[in-house]
């Protein structure tokens, strides 16, 4: 199923809110699992959602580091800023203690009728703190700025590499992968990598610094209170582990049933005509309800379990907070601690939970980042096309090529061990027309793909004017050939752009001439906007026949030596069909032509007919000769008159 994978199914714009609230609001910051699809993530926190695991963490991690190495100085700067802003953040409460301490001292003395607060001390602390806050904010700003730019640049260059990679991959690769899969790697996986780099890198740094820094300050203030606070850490860890264990199951089930529900929707909507015609509405609704109910059960459980993790953790955190308040109160009353120490301590406790939890998530985050990166790298590292022949054996002058083609003992299979083409041998003189006929799946299209060198042969050779096609560069070889397929591929752009695709530097006059020869000109002029009319995404704003004509014009403009036509016009009306035929005759004039023929008139008019069945030429010759031979061709030919 090559359904286009919509980028960002999770509905989050690339990059943007992911780095929202680098510190303050980490509840929102938890990324939902990259499981993608419609069901990605669970509750608002998405905690406990299963993550994809990379196959080889170490290797991919190394590549990821290498990928970032051009940015290492920037990255270092980022780390410095992150550490700086974190350290300032940690220092602030301690500094503030100077002011609060003075206020409390004053307060106490007011209580016992002593002196009042010395506001010069308070003011000084406030000014220092103001400066610290500003610098800290500046650091934070610079850090996110650099990080955001950096990750965007990385994802841009990853995508650029991937786009270039598409050109260098053999077609086999795309035979085994759906477009959706490739698309998802280019769009979604790169997105995941960029976002998590953006987040997890700084998060690792800031979390570690925060935890270490806060621990140090807390111990410094009171080791007793710190121990009380630390007791809660294993408690929350165990709690989270338990909840995650329970929720995993439901998340997995949810994912699975989202798949089923969506599958059912796609299938039934896609086949609704049949559903109606066979009165299968009730049946399909019944199936759907079953899936939907199971989905509901797992969805709410997953959401519930992941939804309580965070409150549960903050409960445990708060229990630590209570313990600290009580213990601190006692310590102060005994005189071993001052009130402002408790107040400062409490501020640290409040900040302590978050980075610990983030550290716990980092492994998961890294896993999913690396899993996405792995898919990206895997794509980038696919075996590329066989290299061009050595410069010495390359034939670069193709102007003298006349266009005779010979296949000798060609063997080929898309998958090794399942040959599609077996010992295929034939010679075609320049300027001749060859019709290839045979049942579907017999290998007709494969033969012309081999001529275009879309695939490499398993055995034998193909020669043009006696020169092996591997002795041309692919670009040169293909510049001698033009192909008109039944799958009329046009792109989103103007008709002019589409025509000019055949020869990018063609003058307008040349384009019009080609359009005229292909019978395109007259209908284009009647269209709104004429040659400048924009074709939409699927080029559905012109008819199938018109599309076919444009592809022919494109081929004429290219002016090839050898022509490949896949003559399937079943979906074109008779009048257009006549036009297409005329256009094709124009196109074929003076060129060697291979036609995958469906129409008897073409077959009869061909200089030679190849009957291909199961990858082999079973019969070969002119129409009359083949009919006289009374073989498979005759059978095929006559079957239409039954």
């Amino acid at each position: 199923m090559s359904k286009p994978t919509n980028a960002n199914n999770n509905g989050r714009p690339i990059g943007a809110p992911a780095q929202h609230g680098a510190r303050p609001t980490s509840a929102m910051q938890q990324r939902r699992g990259p499981g993608g699809g419609f069901g990605g993530g669970g509750g608002p926190l998405g905690l406990g959602a299963p993550r994809q695991k990379p196959k080889d963490f170490k290797k991919t991690m190394k590549k990821l580091i290498k990928l970032m190495s051009p940015y290492r100085w920037l990255f270092l700067l980022c780390v410095i800023f992150a550490v700086g802003s974190t350290v300032f953040g940690i220092a602030a409460p301690v500094i503030m203690e100077g002011a609060t301490g003075e206020i409390i001292r004053g307060f106490m003395e007011v209580q016992i009728g002593g002196f009042s607060i010395d506001f010069s001390i308070v003011l000084r602390v406030i000014l220092i703190l103001g400066a610290v806050y500003i610098v800290s904010a500046l650091f934070m700003f610079l850090q996110s700025l650099i990080m955001a730019d950096m990750t965007q640049k990385i994802s841009y260059s990853l995508r650029k590499d991937m786009s270039a990679k598409i050109s260098r991959l053999p077609l086999n690769y795309f035979d085994t992968k759906t477009h959706g899969e490739v698309l998802s790697r280019i769009v979604n996986d790169v997105d995941t990598v960029a976002n998590s780099l953006n987040q997890s890198l700084t998060q690792i740094v800031t979390s570690v610094v925060t935890v270490v820094g806060i621990l140090a300050v807390m111990f410094w203030i009171s080791w007793q209170m710190t121990l009380v606070a630390l007791v809660t850490v294993p408690m929350s860890a165990i709690l989270v582990m338990i909840v995650i264990r329970f929720s995993q199951k439901h998340f997995r089930r949810q994912q699975e049933y989202v798949g089923h529900v969506n599958g059912q929707v796609e299938e039934i909507y896609g086949g609704h005509v049949v559903v109606k015609a066979f009165c299968a509405e009730d049946k399909s609704v019944g199936d759907f309800d079953n899936y939907n109910n199971t989905l509901y059960q797992s969805a709410w459980k997953a959401q519930f379990l992941s939804g309580i993790i965070w409150p549960a953790m903050s409960l445990i955190g708060n229990i630590g907070y209570v313990g600290v308040s009580v213990l601190g109160g006692v310590l102060v009353s005994r005189g071993s601690l001052r009130i402002e120490n408790i107040l400062t301590f409490i501020q640290y406790i409040r900040r302590f939970n978050m980075p610990i939890m983030q550290l716990g998530q980092i492994s998961n985050m890294l896993q999913s980042t690396v899993a996405a990166a792995e898919r990206v790298f895997e794509f980038l590292e696919q075996d590329e096309l066989a290299p061009e022949a050595d410069e010495s054996s390359l034939i670069r002058d193709i102007s003298v090529i006349r266009g005779s083609v010979s296949f000798s003992n060609v063997d080929f299979g898309y998958v090794p061990d399942t040959p599609i083409i077996k010992n295929f041998t034939t010679d075609v003189d320049a300027g001749k027309t060859i019709a290839i006929v045979g049942p579907t799946g017999g290998g007709k299209t494969t033969i012309v793909k081999l001529l275009m060198r879309f695939y490499e042969l398993n055995g034998g050779s193909i020669e043009i004017d006696g020169i092996n096609i591997t002795n041309f560069t692919r670009a040169d070889l293909r510049s001698m050939l033009a192909m008109v397929l039944q799958d009329t591929w046009l792109f989103n752009g103007t008709i002019m752009d589409n025509l000019r695709y055949g020869k990018l530097n063609a003058t307008d006059v040349e384009v019009y001439a080609a359009a005229d020869a292909a019978r395109v000109d007259h209908f284009v002029r009647a269209l709104p906007g004429g040659y400048d009319m924009e074709l939409n995404e699927e080029a559905t704003n012109i008819s199938q026949g018109q599309k076919q004509l444009i592809t022919i014009a494109r081929a004429i403009l290219k002016d090839p030596k050898i022509l490949i036509l896949d003559e399937a016009t079943s979906s074109v009306d008779t009048r257009t069909e006549v036009l297409i035929q005329e256009a094709m005759v124009n196109l074929m004039r003076g060129r060697t032509s291979f036609i995958i023929a469906h129409r008897l008139s073409t077959i009869r008019g061909a200089d030679a007919i190849l009957v291909v069945r199961d990858g082999e030429i079973v019969e070969q010759g002119s129409h009359e000769a083949l009919l006289a031979a009374g073989g498979y061709y005759k059978e095929l030919y006559e079957s239409q008159f039954v």
Partner: protein, 672 residues
Amino acid sequence: MGYYKVYIPIIVVIVGLLWIRAYGELNLPDYTSRIVDTGISQFGLESLVPNQLARESFHAIRERIPVGEQAGFTSAFRFYVPTNTYRYIGGEFGEEVAAEIYARITAILHGIQFTFEDLRHEMILLGYDMEQQQMRYIVGVGGLMLLMLLLIMASVILETFLSSRMAAGIARRLRRDIFRKVVSFSNSEFDKFSTASLITRSTNDVQQVQMITGMFMRFVVFTPMLGIGAVARVVTAGSEMTWTITIALLATLLFVAVIFILVTPKFKIIQKLIDRLNLVTRETLSGLMVVRAFNRDEYEEEKFDKANANLRNLNIFVNRVFAFMNPIMMLALNITTLVIIWIGGHMVDAGTLQVGVMFAFLQYTIMIIMSFMMMTMIITQLPRALVSINRIAEILKADTSIKDPKNPKTFDDLKKGLVEYKNVSFKYPGAEEYVLRDLTFTVLPGQTTAFIGSTGAGKSSVVNLLPRLYDVTDGQVMVEGVDVRDVTTKALRRKIGYVPQKALLFSGTIGSNIKFASADGYEIKDNDMKWAADIAQAGDFIAEKANQYDDEIAQAGANVSGGQKQRISIARAIAKRPNIFVFDDSFSALDYKTDAALRAATGKNIGGSTLLIVAQRIGTIKNADQIIVLDNGRMVGIGKHEELLKTCEVYRQIALSQLSEEELGLGGAANE
């Protein structure tokens, strides 16, 4: 939307629970301040008014009191002989008076600068263990805090439970209703919405709604509650503090608003750019062979690069804005705390504020600003969710254009298999041009009628009117003597075996696909299934499959070839044993030989049924009892092959484009 109506009681409960949680969380700073103020500063003594005083202390204090107030002070205490102490008796006067007396005494004690320190001293003199007293107080407040935490936790768990069920429940209802609705849609509605869009609406959009419902309660309802509660506490507590927090709040709001106005439109553009990136890549992938044939790799890469660079630039912009936003918000928060400390310090100095309360204020301020920051995050999601909700509502509001009659008629058994078109004209809903104009013909029971014509001539439209996939614009389509609009669609469609142009299979097995028509009361037996498969020329290839009829069919039949799909699709129609068959160009995917064999087999086995065939190949329909030639929606010829060759120009053109004159003659001869 009405969807939330059923949940109103649950929503009320959830809001209540959230309120409890907000109340609890707002109380926590209060407790800390009690530990600091009462527990520590006041040595665990809640009140300055002593419960008892030693006789000497009572007199010492009374002497320091201004003369005018001495009587009032004395009247609140009574001497208690056994212990030789004065006891406070304010409580004996009834609540209102007691409070008055209490306030009065407190004021007096303040006036003479009798402090908690003095009181503590006094209590120690009287033999109280003050250390234990203080401990008891602090631990007591700690206990209350724990209780409060448990209350919060309980309400959170319950609330999460309810809202998860609600969010998932709403999503389930939406999915169910949308699915039912869409299944009831006729082709017109499918044309209007497009299948792809209907799919996204039923899947993506519902998911969006589910997510936002879950988050809405937690963030959009709860956070403001917490914020408002915090504001309320600040306002009731300290007048000078209020404006500080108000200004901080307004500034944050304004800032967020500016960022929003700046960034929200960009999100839409980003989505468009991502779509563009997708489109460009998809185009390249689907046209890979053409791209390579024309050596246009670089051209495609450039196109991709342009989309890629645009996306990068906009993303960088948006990220920069957010990189700016967070530190600024944090800075606003921090500066506000400094201002609070400055003002609070002065209030403490003036004796109008206690230190613990000041710290509670700080915490409230943090809560308020944090809740705003949380909300901004949710708000970015809202416009998207609203779009989804609207898209869903569009489906639910739409009504199918093909409805069953209130009083359905019954078919005329005597006219079994008879099909009549009477002055039928048809245009697609919303279209201006007629696709079919004034068609009148009769298809006799057991006979084969073929439709031929160029694309756009209206062939498929003619046969689509029969099973009421569309309704006629004018005229009547009659099946077995009744207008198709006068019977239920179910009854009508049971009579018709329809084979669409594009073979559509469903996931399951080959068998389940062939038996697709079996439903309530109508069971297709294995024998019938095999019989149908054999006629459809599918028996042979099914026999070669590993599990034969139990062989799996993937979604949309992706794992069988086009020709096989088409044959299963034909078998599916045959297995239904209908009175009337409609083959909408069903043979084009088959090679000539299979086509011929299939036609021979159907002729032999289902000869009793009426056949309507749309075809491209002259060969397929040459032997039909009646051929109808369509051109531009009009019938330009009707009759048998040989007649039409002579009389109908359009027919002859079509025939000649496929076969030579000689072959046409030859074909006729070979058929004798």
